[in-house]
Each structure stands twice: as structure tokens, then as C-alpha cells.
């Protein structure tokens, strides 16, 4: 098994960006200073994370503990394969986004502040997967949440401010849900480790169930799962492009990561319990509960992906389209985690698919957002109906976007293909396992969503890059070198992943599965030696592509794209509905307290008057004002200096008489 070794690498990966943050804070308005420290921060973090790889390949788990720092137990860093995978993606893409931002931010205000908090957010985001206990995870999670708020409201427009508020308050709410969940788990289990908890088997109770739900809500808000997604399409597009790339590409993954850790790891029975020949009743009942939870999560995932795709089809703003697409894609990931929980011991396919899709989606979504940033940087326009023919004007970006889009729709030989295929396998397996008709329907929705993805990416490509330029199209500048460089590197990595899915599978994804409690036999046969090039899988992709193309054609013909989104379905309206709902809820909740507040106020007044009258009547002096009324020291002044000096003399004399003998030895 794994052997734990003490290593400074995880903490270095966090400390370097933190140090950069401090350095940038000293002179945030010096461009060369902040740019170089930003790059140093990301690159340093990346190097430290990469250096963990040899340790992990040798079967060692780097661990580092700082007792009594921030948490009353110890701030723990512990990197297993899943954490390593996420941290690697994070620091790599962050570096690319930073390079992009150096050019991009030229047309924005407050650059110093942006880079400052860009670094601080990196500390949080890269810290989340590197930590080894729940409270440390919470620390970095909150750091990420709060510091990324500043990136969201960066341009300080009214829209950004309201989107940012939604983001901030939901983030705080999520954080409190997590805190409660973690508190409950610690109280019941006496341990904060991110590992299968023994108490889940020996003492599963309602508290732990509630804790699990709260954890999923807390992480789910950040991930943007279905009913909690409302902040996402508002907050992601208003941030500057490099920040939205990271919000959409990486930060929602922290939420997905948390969900995977919760339902696929913490709430599972440990390996040692399973190695006993006959499973005890408690273990089976835990599997049963978990399976029920998994079923719910599968549906949350399915609803999220479908809803996201529908919303995306209706968008005309490039960044909003991409943000809605993120919701849809996070649905895939969450669904994978759900299948993992649903199938329990045999759920390797779901978890592997999720992990792989996290990797892929991080790459193509951040690339697409950066490309959208390039579009807005060079044209000043984000509405795709006002753009066109950018394939001529921005050929490099066009190619990169094409690669990323082919990846996201799951075209063979591009990077989304493998992960989507695995997720499809997972949902099919889930159906075959219990033969539930509802999961059969879920599988069909999965396919339709795939077609929807094709449809909205065709829309995006057609309107922005392909068709003839409409009248009044803004001037297009030349693509700057730094932008090309970062987009190019990302595209190259995507092509590499796409061409060699099995290599990535065996080197990065399959080891991840070893950290979970899963059937080793199943992993060996169905995952390590998975063959992506089967007729079934290819035909599924072909079906999705064909359906998507038909959708696109029909929508194009019937002018659905041109339709204004019905106002009751629009993102802002949904946000407003949510706001109104919150206000009503708030009124209902606070009603008893408001009543109570009135009672208390009245009570205080009565009490005060009563005591005042009482005191006055005690203080009654015929013909004179009562002392109590006439108290007024506010004009006192030290013309009575002499009195005071006398007083102090008396004090000293009393003191001397009482203690003189003892203190002064007289």
C-alpha cells in the first residue's frame, strides 16, 4: 500500500504564491515587478507540484503537518493522486492564464489589485486539493471563495457588483454549510481526515446524514449544481477573461473535488472493513445509504447538465454561453461522482470518468474563456450576433477555439472524447446494475445533452468565426504574442491528451482510483485496459454529432437563435426570482424575531420608565430638583485640582499606613 513520507513540497506549492502575493503587495503599481512575481508564483507552485510526481509514483504519500496552526488540531497537507491531479491542472492553467493576463489586463483598470488577488486566489485554489484534513480544506476553500470575489467585481460596474454580491453571499452561505457539516463529522467521528471514516460504519446516524447533505450543498454551491447554479452565469462573465477562465475552468472543480471526496471517500467503508470475508450488516447498510445518495446525485448531475445546455443554446453573449456550458459540463462530472457512489464498490468507472473530465474540462473551458478574452480584447465586442468572420482576422485564435470545441463535444482524437465515453459507460453500467428505468431515461438525457453541446458550439463557431462579417463589425487588431503563446500551449496540451487517451489514463487517472475504496479487479479489467475505439462508443459520438447538427440546422432555419430569450427564462430574471424568493423567505424567518424585537423594545422602554420613576420618587426633595435629575458631571473640570491633590495625598498616606511596613520593610 501507500507509505506516508514527510515532505515540504505541498506547503512550498502553497507558500510560493503566498510569498508572491506579499511581494506584489509592496509595489502593486509597478508593471514589471507584479508581472514577474505573478509568473514566479505560478511557476514555482507548478514546479513544486510536479516534484510530487516521483514521490507518488514510488508509492509514497507526501504529508506535512503544522500543529495548531489555524485549526485547533493541525494544518495538514497530504497529497494523494486525486489531489495531485487537481493541483497539477490548477497550477499549470494558472500559469497560462497569468501569461495571458499580462497582455489582456492592459485594457482594464486597477491592474495592481487584480494581480494581487489573482495570486491570493491561487493560494486558495491550489491549497484545496493539497490538504489532508477537512478544516484545512475549509481554510483554503474560504480563502479561494473570498479572494476570487475581488476578481469577480473587478470592473466595478453595477452588473458586476450585483453579480459579485450573489457570489459572495452564496459563498459565505456555502462556507457555513461546510463548517457545520465538518463540525458534525468531527463530533461523531472524532477525526477530520479525508479518508473513509470508521464511524460511518459503526455509528451512522442522522447527524452524519445531515452533515453529508450540508457538505454537498456547500461544495455544490461552488460547483454550480442545479438549483444552486444561479450565481454562475452572472458571476463568471463579468470578471475579466483570465479570471473567468479560472473561475470556470478551475474553481468550480474545487466544488466537484469536494463532492467526490465526500461521497466517494469519506462516506464509504474503509478497505480494512471490506477485507473481512462476510460484510457485516452495518457495512451493507452504509452501502445501501450511499447508493441512495448516489442515485440523487446522479439526477442532480443529469438535471444540471441538461439545464446548462438549454441555457447555453439561448445565449448570445459569448462568455455567458461558455458559463452556461460550464454548468452543463459540471453536471457530467457530478453525475460521474454520483455513479461512483451509486455503484459503490464497483463504481470505478464513474469516478475515473469524473476525474478525467475534470482534467479535460479544465483545459478546454479555460482555453475557450481565454479565447473569448482575446476576442473582446481585439474587437471590444462579446455579442456573437455582432461578430463574424474572425477566422480570417484572428486565425490563430480560431484554430485554438476549434480544437477546444471539438474537445468539448467529444470528437474522437480530441480530449473530451475519452472522458465523455467513460462517463457514458458509467451511466450505462449504473442502468445495468439495478435495471432502474429512471436511470435508463437519465442515459437518454445524457445523449441529448451531448447533442445540445454540439448545437451550441456550432452556434458559437458559426456566428463568431465562420459566417460573413455583419455590418457594423468593429475593427479587429492583431493577435498579440503573449496571448498566442498561452493559447498555443494550452491547445498543444489538449491535442496531446486527445491523441493519447490511454497514456493519460494509465499515468494519471487510473492511479487516482487506488485512493478510493474500489474493486481492484474491476479497475484492472475495465479501466486500465479500456478500449475507446469500439463501434458502440464511436456510434454514440456520431449520433450526438448528427443530432446536434440537425438541432443547429433547425434552430438556424427557424431563427430560434435570434429569438429573444423569454424574459421569465432569462438568467437575470431567474436571479431576480431567486432574490425575491430569498426576500420572502427572509421575511418569514425573521417575522418571529421582528415580533420579538418589538416586544423587547416595548419591554425595555417600560422597564426604563418604571425604574426612572422609582428612582425619582426615592430621590424626592420638596421644593428642590431631585439629585437624580440634576446629575451633570459633563461640566466638571479640574479647577478643583487642590481637592484632587489632597485626595491623592490621603490615598498615599492610607497606603503607607496600611502597607508601609510590609512593602518598604520599615
Amino acid at each position: 500500500m501507500h507509505q506516508e513520507v514527510v515532505s515540504y513540497l505541498p506547503i512550498i506549492a502553497v507558500a510560493i504564491p503566498l510569498f508572491s502575493f506579499v511581494m506584489i503587495a509592496f509595489a502593486q503599481n509597478l508593471p514589471w515587478w507584479r508581472n514577474s512575481w505573478s509568473v514566479i508564483g505560478c511557476a514555482g507552485s507548478l514546479v513544486a507540484v510536479v516534484m510530487i510526481y516521483p514521490l507518488l509514483s514510488a508509492g509514497q504519500i507526501p504529508v506535512f503537518e503544522l500543529p495548531m496552526i489555524v485549526t485547533p488540531y493541525s494544518l495538514t497537507f497530504r497529497v494523494d493522486w486525486l489531489g495531485f491531479l487537481i493541483a497539477l491542472i490548477t497550477s499549470f492553467i494558472w500559469l497560462m492564464a497569468t501569461i495571458f493576463a499580462i497582455e489582456y489586463m492592459n485594457h482594464e483598470q486597477n491592474r495592481g489589485r487584480f494581480f494581487l488577488f489573482f495570486m491570493l486566489t491561487l493560494v486558495g485554489t491550489v491549497g484545496v486539493p493539497l490538504t489532508g484534513d477537512l478544516l484545512s480544506l475549509l481554510l483554503f476553500f474560504e480563502l479561494m471563495s473570498l479572494s476570487s470575489y475581488i476578481l469577480v467585481v473587478h470592473n466595478q460596474s453595477k452588473e458586476a457588483y450585483s453579480a459579485g454580491n450573489l457570489y459572495l453571499y452564496l459563498g459565505v452561505f456555502g462556507g457555513m454549510c461546510l463548517l457545520t457539516g465538518i463540525g458534525l463529522i468531527y463530533f461523531n467521528c472524532g477525526s477530520l481526515a479525508i479518508a473513509p471514516q470508521e464511524c460511518m460504519v459503526t455509528g451512522f446516524n442522522n447527524y452524519l446524514l445531515i452533515a453529508g447533505i450540508l457538505m454537498i450543498i456547500g461544495f455544490g454551491i461552488k460547483a454550480g449544481i442545479a438549483p444552486l447554479h444561479i450565481w454562475l452565469p452572472r458571476a463568471h462573465p463579468v470578471a475579466p477573461a483570465p479570471a473567468s477562465a479560472l473561475l470556470s475552468g478551475l474553481m468550480i472543480k474545487s466544488g466537484a473535488y469536494g463532492i467526490i471526496r465526500t461521497i466517494n471517500m469519506i462516506y464509504t467503508p474503509g478497505q480494512d472493513v471490506l477485507s473481512v470475508e462476510n460484510l457485516s450488516a452495518e457495512v451493507s447498510s452504509l452501502w445501501h445509504t450511499l447508493s441512495g445518495g448516489g442515485y440523487v446525485i446522479i439526477w442532480i448531475g443529469i438535471i444540471t447538465m441538461f439545464l446548462g445546455a438549454c441555457l447555453a443554446i439561448l445565449q448570445s453573449n459569448i462568455k455567458k454561453l461558455l458559463a452556461c456550458s460550464s454548468i452543463s459540463q459540471i453536471g457530467y462530472i457530478v453525475m460521474g461522482a454520483g455513479v461512483g457512489a451509486y455503484l459503490g464498490y464497483e463504481g470505478a468507472m464513474g469516478i475515473a470518468g469524473s476525474a478525467y473530465h475534470i482534467l479535460n474540462h479544465a483545459f478546454f473551458k479555460s482555453t475557450l474563456f481565454l479565447a473569448a478574452g482575446a476576442v473582446v480584447y481585439l474587437t471590444g465586442e462579446l455579442d456573437m450576433f455582432k461578430l463574424g468572420n474572425l477566422k480570417k482576422k484572428m486565425p490563430f485564435t480560431a484554430v485554438v477555439v476549434l480544437i477546444a470545441s471539438l474537445g468539448i463535444v467529444g470528437m474522437p482524437l480530441f480530449n473530451g472524447f475519452a472522458s465523455k465515453t467513460m462517463l457514458h459507460h458509467a451511466i450505462v453500467e449504473a442502468y445495468e446494475h439495478h435495471g432502474l428505468y429512471s436511470i435508463y431515461i437519465a442515459e437518454k438525457i445524457f445523449t441529448i445533452t451531448g447533442a445540445g453541446t454540439v448545437c451550441y458550439f456550432l452556434k458559437f463557431l458559426y456566428y463568431t468565426f465562420w459566417r460573413k462579417a455583419p455590418a457594423g463589425m468593429p475593427e479587429v487588431k492583431k493577435e498579440p504574442l503573449l496571448m498566442k503563446a498561452s493559447l498555443g500551449v494550452l491547445a498543444a496540451v489538449m491535442l496531446f491528451i486527445g491523441f493519447s487517451p490511454n497514456l493519460v489514463m494509465t499515468k494519471l487517472i487510473a492511479p487516482v482510483l487506488n485512493t478510493f475504496v474500489l474493486d481492484a479487479h474491476f479497475i484492472e479489467h475495465h479501466i486500465l485496459h479500456i478500449n475507446f475505439w469500439t463501434w458502440n462508443d464511436l456510434s454514440a459520438v456520431a449520433l450526438a454529432l448528427a443530432l446536434g447538427a440537425i438541432f443547429f440546422y433547425l434552430a438556424q432555419r427557424t431563427n430560434v437563435y435570434r429569438l429573444e430569450v423569454p424574459s421569465w427564462l432569462g438568467l437575470e430574471t431567474i436571479g431576480n426570482y431567486f432574490g425575491k424568493l430569498a426576500v420572502i423567505l427572509w421575511l418569514i424567518i425573521s417575522m418571529p424575531f421582528t415580533v420579538l424585537q418589538n416586544i423587547i423594545n416595548r419591554l425595555t422602554e417600560r422597564l426604563y420608565k418604571l425604574s426612572f420613576v422609582l428612582l425619582q420618587s426615592v430621590d424626592y426633595r420638596p421644593g428642590q430638583k431631585s439629585i437624580f435629575r440634576s446629575i451633570n458631571i459633563s461640566n466638571i473640570d479640574f479647577d478643583m485640582l487642590l481637592v484632587l491633590v489632597a485626595l491623592s495625598l490621603i490615598l498615599i498616606i492610607v497606603f503607607y499606613l496600611r502597607f508601609g511596613t510590609k512593602v518598604f520593610g520599615l
Binding site: 489555524v70 459579485g164 459572495l168 463530533f187 425604574s611 426612572f612 437624580f628 466638571i636 485640582l641
Partner: protein, 496 residues
């Protein structure tokens, strides 16, 4: 005369020195700030240093007593150093030093500075008396003196509103003191002593349960006046007419905390855990306090004046401490005790920021503060960090007390208090974060500062204290083990 004797008399020195210092300060001329400011600074510095020396000695050689005067058998004026005294005295003395420094900047343009400083230092002596009291009588004595000496600070403005608030303050305080006196008399009559002792002095079998419950409620609401337990809180928001350093120190740290400290003493040193459990009033008290926590937060949301909002937030946060004490388990009490120091640090920072805003921009209302982050970036950054601490987000120090309180509530099998704590945290977010976001991200009429944003005498304490919040919040080995020990000590289940 050797070192040990000197140390022995340090508690007395803690009380007498500020009084003497205040009188010396009183001899300066009204306009002679160049003499008075350093004088006040040095007096508070020496007091803080002496308190640190006491704490240091306590942790190395254990506590000690200093009897001063015996009135009758069992009625003594007596000082003692014990862990609870060390926490409260240490917090108050050290923060007093910062507030005096801050006052130098804040009071520069105020009137009646001499009176202000004299009573400011006198109050320090009285607070030390409360902290170091060894029995209820001594505590009661200094508690009354504190009311009297803080009155001139509350009415400092001298206008009608201030006078009205001053009378309100006195009336409320005297009601509270009266209740304490009743409790004190009953306790003395039944037990023949008022000494604070580990495990308490009250033996429930000496009287009827109803009588002891009545006594307990007398103490709870008597001290509750200063601890601003609803419905006895009304003086606190009214007293916000005082100058900001006074509000900061007296109404976020010293006066209100002396109320909380008295409650803790009454609970754990007079009644003791056995008697408390015998009274069977834990859930009643905790429930009552929970209402205070939530209602005060909701009222705070409706306040537009920054200092008033902070005042209601104080009422709510003080509830945490009492709640922790009323859970009757070690973990909960640890949380409560931790919150004494954490809340003191956070709230004093917030008040100092509010005061700096008033001094620099003259704005008192939250609705006028849009974009103030441009004018006062460091101050508002400190405000933001302290707000985050108030909500209870790591790594700022409010988090740890919240964590212990949650664990304590679960330990007491009362999940409802977890809901209260989390609900209160969300309410805290709802009334603190809008100030921060509006200050930095809404458009306003403020311009960037040409030079330094606030007088250094104000800015430096703010920055030092906010750094303190972060450091105390992230280096838990400085606080948590000691506080766990103290909770153990109070529970008489071990510790030193």
C-alpha cells in the same frame, strides 16, 4: 524587600497605579497635550507591562492571594490572581494601552481632554479591580466604581443627547447592581462567605431550589445589564454618543466584558458546576441568550449608523460567550472563553476603524460610506479582515471560538444552538459585508489620500490590532491549550 514581595503586591499596584496616574494626569493644564499625552501613554504602557508580568508569574509559579482588609468574617476586600483574572485582566490592560494610543490621535480635536484622560485611566484601575477581585464583595465594589467613573466618558459630548444617554446608562447600571446586591446578600446569608472558589461555594441543600434559582437569576440579569443581555441592553446603543475610543474600549471590551466576566464568576466560581447542574437552568439560559444573539443581529441589520450597528453586533457576540458558559461542558466553555479575547480584538479593531472614518471623513452613516475604500484603503482593509473574523471564517480569530462553540453545543446534545450560531454567522455576513463591498466597489465621492490616510496615532493601533487578529487566529498554540486548561480548571476536573 525582595522580588517575591514585589510580585505579591503587583495586583494592588495594578489598581492603585492607574488611579495615581490619573490624578497626576489631572494636574496638567487643559491645553498641555505635549505633557499629558506621553504621560497617559506611559501610564497605560506600564500598567499593561505589569499585567503581563502578573500573567507570566501566574503561569510559572501559580496564583496567589492578597488580602487587603477584613470588614467582618467572610466579608473581605481581597485580590487574587487566577486564570480567569489573567484572561480578562490581560486582555483589558493590553487593549487599554492601544486605546490610549489611539485616543491621542482621536481626541486631538476634542474638548475637555484632561477630564477625558483622567477618567479613562481611572476606569482602567477599576477594571483591573474587577478582574483581580477574589470575592464577590470586592468585585461588586469595583463594578460600581466602574459605572461611576465611566459616566463622565459617556456624557463627554455634553449635549442633551449625551446627558440623556448618561442617565440611561446610570439607571440601567444601578438596576443591575441592585440585582447583584440582592444575590450577594442571599449568598452571604446562606453560605457565610463570598469567596470565589474552584467548584463554587454554593451548596444547594442549604436552601430551597426556588431560592437558589432566584439568586442565580439575580446574578445573571444583574451582570447581564453590563453584558447587554436583552431586554436589558438599551443603554449600550444609546451610549454610542461617547467618543469612539470610549465606545471601543468601554463598550466593546471593558464594561461589557466586565459584565460577562461577572456572569462567568457567578456561574463557575460562586455556584460551581455541581450547583449549576443542580439548578437545571442550562437550557433556559442558553435559549434566552440565543434569542439575544439572533434578535440583536436582526436589529443590527436595520441600523444605518456605523457605531450603532457595531453596538448591536456587540450585544449579539457577547451572547456567544454566555452561551458557551451556559452549555455546561468544557468544550463549550473553552469556546466562550476564547471568544472573550477574540471578540475583544475584533471589535476594538472595528470600532477603531469606525473612529478613523469619522475623524478623517466626518461620515457616521453607512449609507454615506460608498467608495470610502479609495480614501482609506488600509483602514477599510482592516475593517474587512475583522468583519471576516466576526463571521467566523478562518484564518481570522473568530473562527476558533465558533468551532469550539459548535462542538460544545453538540456535546451538550443541543443541535439547535449550532443552528443559532450558524444563523448568527450568516446574519453577521449580511450586516458586515455590505459595508466592506460598498466601501471598495461602489462609486463614491472619495479621492485617494495624498499622503498618509489617517493620523499615525490612530492608524498604527488599527494595523497592529488587525495583525494581532490574524496572528492569534492562525497561531492557535498561543491560546487554545491555555484556554482548555482554564475551562478544565473552572470545571474542577484537572488542569493547574
Amino acid at each position: 524587600m525582595n522580588y517575591d514581595d514585589l510580585i505579591k503586591y503587583l495586583p494592588l499596584f495594578m489598581i492603585v497605579f492607574p488611579i495615581v496616574g490619573a490624578l497626576i494626569t489631572g494636574t496638567t493644564k487643559e491645553n498641555n497635550d505635549r505633557l499629558r499625552n506621553p504621560l497617559a501613554f506611559i501610564i497605560s504602557l506600564i500598567s499593561a507591562a505589569a499585567m503581563v508580568l502578573i500573567i507570566f508569574n501566574y503561569y510559572h509559579f501559580g496564583g496567589w492571594e492578597l488580602p487587603l482588609h477584613q470588614i467582618a468574617p467572610g466579608l473581605e476586600i481581597k485580590l487574587r490572581v487566577d486564570p480567569l483574572a489573567a484572561i480578562f485582566g490581560g486582555t483589558a490592560a493590553i487593549l487599554w494601552f492601544f486605546s490610549v494610543t489611539y485616543s491621542i490621535g482621536y481626541m486631538a480635536h476634542e474638548h475637555n481632554r484632561r477630564r477625558y484622560y483622567v477618567f479613562y485611566l481611572l476606569s482602567l484601575g477599576m477594571t483591573m479591580g474587577i478582574a483581580l477581585a477574589a470575592n464577590l464583595l470586592t468585585l461588586y465594589l469595583f463594578y460600581e466604581f466602574l459605572t461611576i467613573f465611566t459616566y463622565p466618558l459617556v456624557v463627554h459630548e455634553g449635549d442633551d443627547e449625551a446627558k440623556k444617554s448618561g442617565v440611561k446608562y446610570l439607571v440601567y447600571s444601578f438596576i443591575g447592581a441592585g440585582l447583584i446586591l440582592i444575590g450577594l446578600i442571599i449568598t452571604y446569608g446562606q453560605m457565610g462567605t463570598l469567596e470565589f472558589a474552584r467548584g463554587g461555594i454554593v451548596d444547594l441543600s442549604t436552601g430551597s431550589l426556588t431560592m437558589w434559582r432566584f439568586t442565580f437569576l439575580c446574578f445573571l440579569f444583574g451582570f447581564g445589564v453590563k453584558a447587554a443581555v436583552m431586554p436589558l441592553h438599551a443603554w449600550l446603543p444609546a451610549a454610542m454618543v461617547a467618543p469612539t475610543p470610549v465606545s471601543a474600549l468601554l463598550h466593546a471590551v471593558a464594561v461589557v466584558k466586565s459584565g460577562v466576566f461577572g456572569t462567568l464568576r457567578a456561574m463557575y466560581s460562586v455556584f460551581g458546576i455541581t450547583a449549576l447542574l443542580g439548578l437545571q437552568m442550562g437550557y433556559f439560559v442558553a435559549g434566552f441568550i440565543s434569542l439575544t444573539i439572533l434578535v440583536a443581529s436582526i436589529i443590527a441589520m436595520q441600523q444605518d449608523e456605523l457605531k450603532k450597528r457595531l453596538a448591536y453586533s456587540t450585544i449579539s457576540q457577547l451572547g456567544y460567550i454566555t452561551l458557551g458558559a451556559a452549555l455546561f461542558n468544557v468544550i463549550g466553555l473553552t469556546g466562550g472563553l476564547l471568544h472573550i479575547i477574540n471578540h475583544a480584538l475584533l471589535k476594538i479593531t472595528l470600532f477603531f476603524c469606525a473612529g478613523a472614518i469619522i475623524t478623517v471623513t466626518g461620515k457616521k452613516k453607512i449609507s454615506e460610506l460608498n467608495g470610502v475604500g479609495k480614501r482609506m484603503p488600509l483602514t477599510m482593509l482592516a475593517f474587512a479582515i475583522a468583519s471576516i473574523g466576526m463571521i467566523g471564517i478562518p484564518p481570522v480569530n473568530g473562527f476558533i471560538s465558533k468551532w469550539y462553540l459548535i462542538q460544545g453545543s453538540l456535546e451538550g446534545e443541543a443541535w439547535i444552538f449550532v443552528a443559532v450560531l450558524i444563523g448568527s454567522a450568516l446574519l453577521n455576513a449580511a450586516y458586515f459585508l455590505p459595508i466592506v463591498t460598498a466601501a471598495f466597489f461602489k462609486k463614491g465621492n472619495f479621492l485617494s489620500p495624498g499622503g498618509i490616510e489617517a493620523p499615525p496615532a490612530m492608524l498604527i493601533p488599527i494595523l497592529v490590532l488587525v495583525a494581532g487578529c490574524l496572528l492569534v487566529g492562525s497561531n492557535l498554540q498561543w491560546t487554545v491549550p491555555y484556554f482548555e486548561n482554564i475551562a478544565d480548571y473552572l470545571f474542577f476536573t484537572g488542569g493547574n
